[in-house]
Symmetry: C2
Subunit: 196 residues, 2 copies
């Protein structure tokens, strides 16, 4: 399989790209800093990337951030950043990618467990993650050519927790999480949300 | 209780306002077409409304629309309309309303069942509804002065179904749905999503 991994320099995306490459997939790693770069907050950047890319069998999105902070301190710009940078960014990877994914191909989006269980100070992230989960369930019904669409909502990843000085908060390793992405690419799942 | 009902001229909002008024609440009915008008797609319009309003005990939002249509036909503008007009509109009713709701007051948002189960052609609406559900769960933890926040995800309302020529698709009446809003205002629920 020829698989595009967006956000491939992040903790989650790098592990996904590594796991797929080790099993023999042709992995195209992109992020804001790779040679073939993409900023998913920019629709034009996404369109330009797909034009250069040609056809792929699957698109795995591990990209995008949302602003953390107590609701009263989040600004209009913080919400816009979260919507453009993660929510619409990932949705646009699907919308603009439809003409670049082969028959029976697959999109995998990354939401996050804050959709269901969030600590204080995570309302914008929860909003974005819940939106991506519901989008994946619904939009799967609109895809042509038996293309599939699923979302993954990872828990707090151990490596991220360690880097933040909260080692006991990490639930699974980036590699364990990446295995779930690989399983979703292989199966016939569509319109589902997976909680590793 | 002095209760602001936003979207009070719509099928859901009018029934909510009626049920609350009948039980003796002081109901302030607003929409884009009322004397004290608000367009929730405009942050400035929301701020201006709250300035004129003074204090309320509760804010019930039944306002906002999302664009329907197959994913491949939804435009950038359709997604922006859905995000600004329903998602950020309702979130901004909470953000900007915090200084206008009394201690132990309550916000009730309206998402919709497409968050969980959507037909084809409803990806933007599903996205918005899922976002509002997850926002309510998370942002409830950030509210000051024991103010509560809940969301309701109504099913297809009978009156709407009849008006669309799909009478058998309606699950409950607008009045039955409104009773659930009244119960949520009275209880001590917070951070919950209710499915009437």
């Amino acid at each position: 399989m020829r698989v595009l991994v967006v956000g491939a320099t992040g903790t989650i995306g790098k592990a996904v790209a590594d796991v797929l490459a080790e099993r023999g997939d042709e992995v195209l790693r992109v992020s804001r800093t790779t040679d073939l770069a993409v900023d998913i907050a920019s629709p034009a950047s996404i369109r330009a990337m797909y034009q250069k890319l040609g056809w792929v069998d699957a698109v795995v999105s591990c990209a995008g951030n949302a602003k953390m902070g107590p609701l009263a301190q989040l600004t209009d710009a913080d919400f816009a950043f979260s919507v453009e940078g993660k929510l619409m960014g990932q949705i646009n990877l699907v919308r603009f990618g439809l003409d670049h994914v082969r028959d029976e191909g697959c999109f995998v989006l990354t939401a996050g467990i804050f959709s269901q269980r969030a600590p204080a100070g995570a309302s914008a992230a929860a909003m974005v993650n819940g939106a991506l989960e519901s989008f994946a369930r619904a939009a799967a019904k609109d895809l042509p050519r038996r293309i599939r669409l699923v979302a993954v909502s990872p828990p707090f990843i151990r490596e991220t927790a360690v880097a933040m000085g909260l080692p006991q908060a990490g639930k699974i390793s980036a590699r364990e999480n990446a295995q779930r992405y690989a399983e979703l690419l292989d199966g016939d799942y569509t319109g589902q949300v997976s909680y590793p």
